[in-house]
């Protein structure tokens, strides 16, 4: 053995650590190898097929919203590099608007773990991350694709710079007529094969990022523009509209971030501006709804590590929301300020804990503090086995539509309050150098009070009010296996969740709905993706099962379960600095006829051929 130190080049670790981001809380990670399979698909496809999160979608190209653990779309937060993207008007985010190929990493934080990034995610938070990748300083990647139903799309990535400066440009374009065929079994006694029309989608956008760094600090500037124009098809049981309903979405997101590490101290300061425009036009009903929201966000975090075992965090978050819409009475604003204090400690070699306390101030009104507490036990010193348990109280501020929509908005709404508890058992084992196995089992329970619901009011319109309570509980389990032998690599990622979600409290008992499963919350959700690569060839097969979803509160009607599988096969050719990757994928391989939302049919078997041309320096 030599004693002298050997200087090696910088190494970028892309794999996720066995340790979680927030000690005691569950998180999962979708890395670039999985995201790459869905480059030409939307985040809705990526999330729904690679996690146990249920995504409600109104068909190909239609609104797609995530739902964690039986909670609603408004209880799921979507963030971009820790900045919430949920539209303040509706409190949700449409996953169908973002192509997965724009994102480098997806981290999913469940339950109380989401509070480390933002409040209000009772189910959890999906954090979309874009990063420089300092090792790959100069490259160009062009990724055109052609698919069924008139789909044409393209994705461009350009990276340039040096070890201290990076510029990353990503741009995408997607057009699809979306006139897919489906089985109509409600128009008469015999099923008919018909063509879905008025589903046309046009999307475009880009992300431009600049990164600077020196030995102790980094500065980044990011801007993300995207727009989408789409026709909104009606449910097949409804009369089609001529002209069809249309929706235009346009978002501009800009972010500047400064980070500095000095010894045991770390400071991060982020400023962001987010502008969302959503116009809905229904000529037949004489509706021309124009909605503009602007958000200014300032976020500062200070971290200090004491004796390598205790990390203290202080975080301040200021968020100003400004809304200009035809649906409110005048301009509306809402200011949110939060102050967090958190401590995370490795108490012993087998025990760690984290606690966070948050004070939220909404328009100068102090709210009852939130908190989250988690503990992590590592029962075996030499093994990556973990027991994680957590409990948290989280608050969701009402959306501005809930407060100010005309008519029916209620400015006196209270926050929704969620209590979440969970316990996770996770095992990571390495039977051999070429085999890695990880599996986990989680039990969770959420209790949400003061649920905001729209009900018929005193007059002829509906009004928002804090009415219901819901309880969701269930089990999640996941299994990841990675195996490599020579030029053969295989990976399996599988997940299953069982979710029981129902109304609770006296109102539910009096109406006989106590214990009934909430509508559109499947009890069973299963997905698995199996990937192979050998020499130049690679393939992925994914399959998913979504259980019965009730359509009525009394559970008398439901959509049947469905199972959908996809297959992709490709070959990667290296010619010096250039890499060609040709890929053919078949979605809904077995041509299953199914609906995710009642009377919104999903496409049958479809094809997509894509080419990745990458040139590196």
């Amino acid at each position: 053995m030599h004693d002298e130190a050997i200087l090696i080049g910088e190494v970028e670790i892309l794999a996720k650590s066995e340790r979680n981001q927030f000690m005691g809380f569950k998180d999962t990670h979708l890395d670039s190898s999985i995201i790459g399979i869905y480059n030409q698909r939307t985040l809705a496809d990526l999330i729904s097929k690679n996690s146990v999160i249920h995504v409600k979608t109104y068909g190909s190209g239609g609104l797609a919203t995530p739902s964690f653990r039986g909670t609603g779309p408004g209880h799921t937060q979507i963030a971009w590099n820790d900045i919430s993207l949920n539209n303040p008007m509706i409190g949700q985010f449409d996953l169908s608007l973002v192509p997965a190929g724009l994102i480098d990493d997806v981290n999913i934080y469940y339950g109380g773990g989401s509070m480390g990034i933002h409040s209000g995610g009772f189910g959890g938070i999906i954090n979309l991350e874009t990063s420089p990748g300092w090792n790959d300083t100069e490259s160009i990647s062009l990724n055109p694709a052609l698919g069924s139903y008139g789909r044409i799309s393209g994705l461009l990535r350009v990276k340039a710079g040096s070890k201290g400066f990076q510029t990353v440009t990503k741009a995408f374009l997607m057009n699809s007529d979306n006139n897919f065929s489906y089985i109509n079994n409600i128009s008469g006694p015999e099923p008919l094969r018909q063509t879905r029309e008025n589903s046309e989608v046009r999307q475009k956008g880009f992300i431009q990022e600049f990164y600077f760094r020196n030995s102790s600090s980094t500065i980044s500037a990011r801007i993300w523009f995207q727009s989408a124009a789409r026709n909104l098809p009606v449910p097949i049981i409804s009369q089609s509209m001529d002209p069809p309903e249309k929706q235009f979405d346009e978002s501009m997101r800009a972010m500047v971030e400064y980070g500095s590490v000095s010894g045991i101290n770390e400071i991060n300061i982020t400023g962001a501006f987010i502008s969302d425009k959503l116009n809905y036009i229904n000529e037949l009903a004489s509706v021309d709804s124009r909605n503009n929201s602007k958000r200014i966000i300032l976020k500062g975090t200070f971290e200090r590590i004491l004796k390598n075992i205790l990390k203290l965090e202080l975080s301040l978050n200021e968020e100003l929301n400004l809304i200009n819409t035809t649906n409110y009475s005048g301009l509306k604003a809402m200011n949110l300020f939060s102050a967090d204090a958190a401590a995370e400690a490795d108490i012993t070699h087998w025990l760690g804990a984290r606690i966070l306390v948050r004070e939220l101030i909404r328009d100068r009104r102090f709210l009852i503090p939130d908190f989250s507490a988690g503990t992590e036990i590592r029962p075996f010193r030499e093994k990556y086995y973990f027991i994680r348990a957590s409990f948290s109280k989280n608050s969701k501020i009402p959306s501005l539509n809930d407060m100010y929509w005309m008519p029916g908005g209620n400015p006196d709404l209270l926050n929704e309050t969620g209590y979440s508890s969970e316990i996770t058992w996770e095992m990571n084992s390495f039977p051999s150098g070429s085999l890695k196995i990880r599996n986990d089992l989680t039990l969770f329970r959420n209790h949400i009070n003061n649920m905001i619901q729209w009900r018929p009011g005193s007059y002829s319109y509906w009004e928002a009010s804090n009415i219901g309570n819901i309880v969701t509980s269930g089990v999640e389990t996941g299994l990841d296996i990675g195996y490599s032998f020579g030029k053969f690599n295989a990976g399996l990622n599988a997940g299953y969740s069982y979710t029981k979600a129902s109304n609770a409290g006296m109102a539910a008992e009096n109406s006989g709905l106590s214990g009934k499963q909430l509508v559109y919350v499947p009890a069973d959700n299963l997905n698995a993706i199996l990937r192979f690569s050998w020499h130049k060839f690679h393939s992925a097969f994914s399959t998913g099962y979504t259980g019965k979803r009730y359509l009525t509160a009394d559970n008398s009607q439901y959509l049947p379960p469905y199972s959908v599988s996809d297959l992709s096969i490709g070959t990667k050719l290296n010619t010096g600095r250039a890499v060609f990757d040709i890929n053919i994928s078949v979605e809904n391989l077995f041509d299953a006829s199914f609906q995710n939302i009642a009377y919104y049919p999903m496409p049958g078997r479809s094809f997509l051929i894509s080419l990745v041309l990458q040139i590196k320096k």
Partner: protein, 352 residues
């Protein structure tokens, strides 16, 4: 490794054995031959869970999902109103843009008249044709009842809601944002006049004196007072105008009893007034108590009052039955958002 496989296999197995058949309402078709009340359950907009219920006087029971159970397909999205012509019923399915034609006594589908722009109400014109109003279209659709096909349109230049007919004249109300009753010559299917009334004429009836009563609810913004207006159908002029006392009053669902002498409407309960009354009723005839009344109808053969309660508009609602004196008789569970009612009169008056 075995443990891991078991962890995955258990939920898979569990998911396979949990399948339970949906609840199917056990009904027979025979109940339809007697008298009763059809209840249009609107269901939730764009959810396609609208349905038809029938309360049978023979069994004093309510039967839900009647159309679905007999024809093995859903009725559609927002079944809104219906009419009876001879032995056939015409169900206006608003957001499906269609009219389902079925046998009155067996509910078997005869045909579906589709591609009607947002239909709302139907009025039969001398047994040979019908007018169908539209929420979105500026025209009334003319149906040929012999062929059950669209035979033409009458351009009103505005959308229409309630429609009634008398002799050779039909009256169509321009509801959304409107304030006019369009007078139509039913012989040549042309507009011959219009009558300016209050804001948003919502419902209409014609009494025994052939007076047209129009209930204008004042609009949802509550900027105008609601009005109940009596129109002389011979001169098409306003004879009486009752203005509701508060701008927040929002009466709906004007109905008439079997003899054409008493008017009923909903306003914080059921209210009724004689057609020759000089004032609006200050007291409720049937109080809501713990219910929220949504729609109502009066059985023309016995003046029983049926009121629907849509509840929270998400779960199944109720139908409440009251005697002609306003005394509560029974409560029945219908389906989601029970709305308009249509009475099926048994030829034998002793049975209902």
């Amino acid at each position: 490794m075995h443990k891991i496989l078991i962890l995955i296999a258990i939920p898979l197995f569990y998911s396979c054995i949990r399948e339970v058949d949906p609840v199917i309402t056990d009904i027979s078709e025979t109940y339809l031959s007697g008298g009763g009340v059809f209840i249009l359950n609107e269901g939730n907009f764009r959810s396609g869970n609208g349905s038809l219920s029938f309360f049978s006087y023979d069994s004093l029971k309510i039967f839900n999902h009647v159309f679905m159970d007999i024809n093995s397909r859903p009725l559609g999205d927002v079944p809104y109103s219906m009419g009876i012509d001879g032995s056939r019923i015409y169900i206006i399915v608003n957001n499906s843009g269609k009219i389902e034609v079925a046998g009155m006594n067996d509910m078997r589908s005869v045909t579906t008249i589709s591609k009607i722009a947002s239909p709302r109400y139907i009025s039969f014109i001398r047994g040979s044709k019908a007018y169908v109003t539209s929420l979105y279209s500026d025209s009334v659709t003319i149906l040929d009842l012999a062929s059950n096909r669209v035979s033409g349109f009458i351009n009103l230049r505005k959308s229409s809601e309630s429609v009634v007919s008398l002799s050779s004249t039909a009256y169509a109300a321009s509801w959304v944002g409107g304030n006019k009753i369009i007078v139509i010559n039913t012989i040549n299917d042309s507009v011959k006049d219009s009558i300016e009334v209050g804001v948003e004429p919502e419902s209409m009836v014609i009494d025994k004196n052939e007076t047209l009563w129009v209930l204008c609810n004042g609009g949802w913004k509550r900027e105008n007072f609601a009005q109940l207006i009596a129109i002389n159908t011979k001169t098409n002029t306003i004879e009486k105008r009752f203005i509701f006392p508060s701008v927040t009053d929002s009466p709906t669902c004007l109905q008439l009893n079997g003899t054409g002498e008493t008017l009923y409407y909903l306003q914080n309960g059921v209210r009724c007034m004689e057609i020759d009354a000089s004032d609006l009723p200050s007291e409720v005839f049937i109080s809501e108590q713990n219910n929220v009344f949504y729609r109502m109808g009066v059985n023309p053969s016995n003046d029983e009052v049926f009121v629907t309660d849509a509840g929270d508009y998400v779960n199944r609602g109720k139908v409440l039955r009251y005697s002609r004196e306003g005394v509560f008789i029974a409560e029945m569970i219908a389906d989601i958002i029970p709305g308009n009612l249509c009475f099926k009169i048994n030829p034998d008056p002793n049975t209902q």
